[in-house]
């Protein structure tokens, strides 16, 4: 098994610190994959820093899993390069890449105990027996699985099995751990709990993680940066806050912030603001300054949580509250705007002083919270 020693010289290093802290553990350049006429992944590029938690977020068919599989080596890209540390691994078999992988279906070896499962990658690398025992013990303890070492995987719950799978992927300190919807098969409560655990372990050990999910909340909880993917393209690769507050495309605004969209036209620009006249109500809405010429058709995107109810005619539009749903700390309201048949404007306002069904309200928003997207002519 000497070849593996060459591939991952890090495994012989004792202790929890990541040996590849210098240089980018993973970079992907212009990765492209097609299946027949369908472009699964188009020109995906990114650099991932050591200790960073990066998530590919997108609906099914967005190319997020394909990208991950190409990084793992289970699927070969048509073009582009994948670099792990200083090595070009684009055309290498999965076993020669030295990465870790956590699968959605756990995929623990059913004929081995929990300890044997976690020890498996270490035995491949010729780690001495007593060190294997020590590291397996340490790793299981980190995941809260001490005392489960002698059990078979089928004797564990789904959540425990996935913890074992996580241990198995990190016990040999791969420079990057890839995770393909690891919590997808678990129920909501367990998912929330494991998200926190995964994040804690990742931060404690300084792991570099590339994670795939379709769950926005999960992505926001876990990630340092998120790559929002659609139709094989990375729409935006940014921190959760940037994605939320400064979405670069209407898709990102919709996918992460579930934004309201209102059609309008740029009326004028001032030093700090861009004023838009809304098509429906004719109301004026002030946004932070965008580099858009007067007369440009735009989509105004505002998240429900950033809209506020005010006195009628005080805001950028006025309407009637058609629905008001109490959801604990919030009231979700749907407002029918005067002068048009647009979809209901969705508001999320703190419960207690929330609007009531049938009430006439104005709607206002802080200019900082408004994003404008130019509408391509004819599009």
């Amino acid at each position: 098994m000497a070849e593996f020693g060459v591939v991952t010289p890090s495994v012989k290093v004792a202790g929890g610190k990541l040996p590849t802290a210098t240089g980018k553990p993973l970079s992907v350049v212009a990765l492209r994959k097609t299946y027949g006429d369908v472009v699964a992944v188009d020109e995906a590029s990114m650099e991932i820093a050591a200790g960073e938690f990066v998530t590919f977020l997108g609906a099914s068919g967005s190319g997020k899993t394909t990208t991950l599989m190409m990084i793992a080596g289970f699927c070969e890209p048509d073009s582009g390069t994948i670099t792990v540390g200083d090595r070009d691994v684009t055309r290498l078999a999965p076993q020669k890449r030295g990465l870790g992988f956590v699968f959605q279906q756990y995929l623990l070896f059913p004929h081995m105990t929990v300890s044997e499962n976690v020890a498996f990658p270490l035995t491949l690398r010729g780690v001495p027996k007593d060190e294997i025992r020590r590291r397996v013990g340490e790793t299981l303890e980190i995941a809260g699985l001490s005392g489960f070492g002698g059990r078979k995987p089928r004797e564990l719950s789904g959540g425990q099995q996935q913890r074992v799978a996580l241990c198995r992927a990190l016990v040999y300190r791969p420079p990057v751990i890839l995770m393909d919807e690891p919590l997808g098969a678990l129920d909501k409560k367990l998912r929330d709990q494991l998200q926190i655990e995964i994040k804690a372990i990742q931060q404690e050990l300084g792991l570099t993680v590339v994670y795939v999910t379709h769950d926005q909340e999960e992505a926001l909880v876990l990630s340092d940066r998120i790559a929002v993917m659609r139709n094989g393209l990375i729409e935006q690769f940014d921190t959760p806050r940037e994605l939320f507050e400064r979405p670069r495309t209407p898709f990102v605004a919709d996918f992460l912030g579930a934004a309201n969209f209102l059609p309008g036209r740029v009326l004028q620009n001032t030093d700090e603001h861009t004023v838009v006249r809304l098509d429906q109500s004719g109301g004026l809405l002030t946004a932070r300054r965008h580099e858009l010429a007067s007369g440009t058709s735009v989509k105004v995107a505002v998240q429900p949580g950033r809209l506020r109810a005010c006195a009628p005619d005080d805001g950028f539009c006025t309407g009637t509250v058609e629905t008001a749903t109490y959801v604990g700390t919030l009231v979700r309201a749907g407002v029918r705007i005067d002068g048009g048949d647009a979809p209901l404007l969705r508001l999320e306002v703190p419960a207690g002083r929330g609007p009531v069904t049938g009430e006439r309200v104005g709607v206002t928003v802080d200019p900082e919270d408004v994003n404008l997207f130019p509408v391509e002519q004819g599009g």
Binding site: Q105, F109, G150
Partner: protein, 298 residues
């Protein structure tokens, strides 16, 4: 499918009959019980009595002494040897075939399985004569070998142990392929991918992941072909020589030629005990493997 052969019955709690459900269950089981008693237990018991009965009606063990001494003992040993060889070869070829088939797309796998299994529907007699034609001095196999200037050709492939083992292996192959195929199909291929993702090479994946996962299937397939070979009659009788006389032929001779039912019954019981011994062996081996694993884990 594979597990049924080696699975042991779960431990039964006491006071079973107390539950009403159990009593109803027994009622449902009654036809099967009667069927087994009449067609299985009774014949075995009567064979057992026959094997213990002297010509004057008194109890004796001398049929067993006969069965386990002299020429009869060597026939018994030949039977075990040929059965073991058959089990080994049908396991090896069965493994290769089933492994290849389990990697095919479902449609092609279906076709391949059909090709493997269909010969089994043809009478064993016909197949055996087919082999005799193929393996004869001027048969297709020797003819081809001779044309290829293979040194030593033509080989003696009939009326010796090679012929018998070729014949019995071809008969047992469908069983082992079917058993192994179903076990291999049940192996989650993604487990192999998981092993690869951790750095395991192909040989390691095969040895440490794939093989242990199909091991129960190997045990039952090997056992099945061994047991079936033990009592196999036509092929060894037609394709073997005098040195390849197997126990089934011996029983046949005793009944048909010597009208010696008691001796035949004793041979039959010995055959049955051999079968049990085979089952026991596999059981011991698998439980030994399990306990060894347990010890190494703790």
């Amino acid at each position: 499918m594979a597990a049924t052969l080696t699975a042991n019955a779960p431990a039964r709690p006491r006071k079973l009959l107390a539950s009403r459900r159990t009593r109803v269950g027994i009622l449902y089981a009654l036809p099967v019980v009667v069927y087994l008693l009449v067609l299985f237990v009774y014949p075995i018991l009567s064979t057992l009595f026959l094997s213990l009965k002297n010509t004057d009606g008194s109890l004796t063990l001398h049929w067993y002494v006969d069965a386990l001494t002299g020429i009869n003992l060597s026939v018994l040993l030949t039977t075990v040897r040929i059965s073991a060889e058959t089990a080994l070869f049908s396991l090896v070829f069965g493994f290769v075939l089933a492994n290849a088939i389990s990697r095919l797309k479902p449609l092609w796998a279906g076709v391949a399985m059909l090709i493997v299994v269909v010969p089994h529907f043809i009478s064993a007699l016909v197949r055996t004569y087919g082999w005799i034609i193929l393996l004869g001095d001027k048969g297709l196999v020797n003819d081809t070998l001779a044309k290829l200037w293979v040194p030593g050709a033509p080989f003696q492939l009939l009326y010796n142990e090679i012929g018998v083992v070729i014949g019995t292996t071809s008969v047992m192959l469908p069983y082992t392929v079917l058993l192994l195929y179903s076990v291999m199909r049940g192996v989650d291929r993604r487990l192999l991918a998981a092993a690869a993702s951790m750095g395991a090479g192909r040989v390691t994946i095969f040895r440490r992941v794939y093989l242990p996962l199909v091991a129960p299937g190997l045990a039952s397939a090997g056992l099945l072909s061994f047991i079936l070979s033990l009592g196999y009659y036509i092929t060894p009788a037609l394709m073997g020589g005098p040195d390849q006389t197997m126990i089934a032929s011996l029983i046949n001779q005793q009944v048909m030629k010597q009208n010696q039912w008691n001796g035949a019954a004793a041979e039959g019981v010995v055959l049955l005990l051999l079968t049990f011994a085979g089952l026991l062996l596999v059981k011991v081996v698998t439980s030994f493997g399990a306990s060894r694993k347990k010890r190494s884990a703790s």
